[in-house]
């Protein structure tokens, strides 16, 4: 059964339809949320909020359009809102730990073949992502973690395709600059 049929059943209060939708989408969505907010527990909270919106507003979902775009559109908006608020009330200790992780990643000696040590690379990538604006971060994650095409991202984040391309370009440039120590193709700084 496709997502849109399950939405119709959920509108009638069918919890099995909800379970089906939840099982299909929650792990990948949680991955997106985790990369967006950079914290597993906050990502779990946001996952709850996204599916709560689904439960509360399922009668307003347009079943003629792909459900995943609606879902990620809600997730994108919640993340951007959360990140804007948390930027204001950012906890100092979290900030320090993030900085420390990045410093460790930067200062540890690179392997002789400049190979990408997975753990350090992913930690540095998380830190670099955290420094991107939420809108750029979102399109980057959808494009490179979820392999979504530009048009689909454009619908989910609610902006023109040109804006998505521009955000991707600048996100890539900024990440490349942040992750230069891991670049095996160029000289080390």
């Amino acid at each position: 059964m496709i997502d849109e049929q399950l939405i119709c059943r959920l509108q009638a209060g069918d919890t099995r339809a909800f379970d089906e939708l939840y099982d299909r989408h929650s792990p990948r969505l949680l991955g997106y949320l985790r990369r967006m907010v950079g914290d597993s527990e906050r990502a779990q909270d946001l996952l709850h909020d996204v599916f709560l919106r689904l439960v509360e507003r399922c009668d307003r979902i347009d079943t003629q359009r792909p459900f995943s775009r609606w879902l990620y559109s809600v997730a994108h908006n919640l993340c951007c809102s959360e990140l804007r608020h948390s930027h204001v009330r950012r906890d100092k200790s979290n900030d320090l730990s993030l900085e420390l992780r990045f410093q460790v990643a930067e200062t540890q000696p690179l392997t002789p073949d400049h190979g990408l040590d997975d753990e350090r690379f992913l930690a540095a990538l998380d830190s670099a992502l955290a420094n991107l604006e939420p809108e750029r971060r979102s399109v980057f994650v959808l494009r490179h973690a979820h392999q979504w095409p530009i048009a689909q991202i454009s619908e989910a984040v609610g902006c023109p395709e040109g804006t998505v391309k521009s955000r991707l370009f600048h996100a890539t440039r900024a990440l490349a600059a942040s992750l230069r120590p891991f670049d095996p193709t160029g000289p080390t700084p």
Binding site: L10, G13, T15, F18, D19, Y22, S26, P27, R28, L30, G31, R34, S40, A43, Q44, L47, H48, F51, L52, V55, E56, L116, D118, F121, L122, L125, R143, H144, A145, Q147, P149, I150, K165, S166, L168, F169, H170, T172, R173, A174, L175, A176, A177, L179, R180, F182, D183, P184, T185, G186
Partner: protein, 187 residues
């Protein structure tokens, strides 16, 4: 100032760089490019170090992310949401059937009262509806020119005339004093 110059950490030709990024983003990689686009991409990558690094980085990131195991949601989230669905559905049913749970005496009293009213033929004399005149206030002012009337307005005016006639009948002896001065304006 153009946004891209603000954030561009490299001193390169962003127009060609952006074109390459767009081509690769749309086509999903170098191998999918058409001949001309592929020639442009190869040429640009051979001259632009920044783009070469970025393409390598993007390949690495996609590869690492694809190997990262997907996180699993907490079990408590599902059960919380189940509770919300049940509560929502129950509250809808509650709204529909709430009237069934009224206490029996209230039902009985209401039904008996309705029956008594129906059987005894209780009728109340309706008060003259002077309020109708107030629905077209501009017409009460006899010096004001008549506006263009819609069908509803015309109906109201006719109804007011009928009401005035009725008020001046003998069964309402004191009604004449309560009638507002009114003059019919023809045309």
């Amino acid at each position: 100032m153009n946004e891209r110059h603000d954030t561009n950490p490299y001193d390169t030709d962003t127009t060609d760089c952006e074109r390459l990024h767009t081509l690769l983003d749309i086509n999903g990689g170098l191998v999918s490019l058409q001949t001309l686009d592929r020639q442009f991409a190869d040429l640009h990558l051979s001259t632009c170090e920044a783009c070469r690094r970025e393409q390598h980085l993007l390949t690495s990131i996609s590869a690492k992310w694809s190997l990262t195991p997907q996180p699993q949601p907490h079990g408590a989230i599902r059960s919380k949401l189940h509770a919300v669905i049940r509560r929502q559905h129950t509250s809808v049913l509650d709204g529909i059937f709430a009237w069934l749970r009224l206490p029996a005496p209230a039902y009985t009293i209401a039904v008996i009262a309705l029956l008594i009213a129906g059987v005894s033929g209780v009728q109340t004399e309706r008060a003259p509806q002077l309020l109708m005149i107030q629905t077209v206030p501009s017409l009460v002012d006899t010096s004001a020119p008549l506006p263009e009337l819609t069908r509803t307005d015309s109906d109201n005016v006719l109804a007011n005339f009928r009401l005035l006639d009725r008020l001046q009948r003998p069964e309402f002896p004191d009604s004449a004093a309560r009638v507002l001065p009114y003059r019919r304006v023809d045309g």
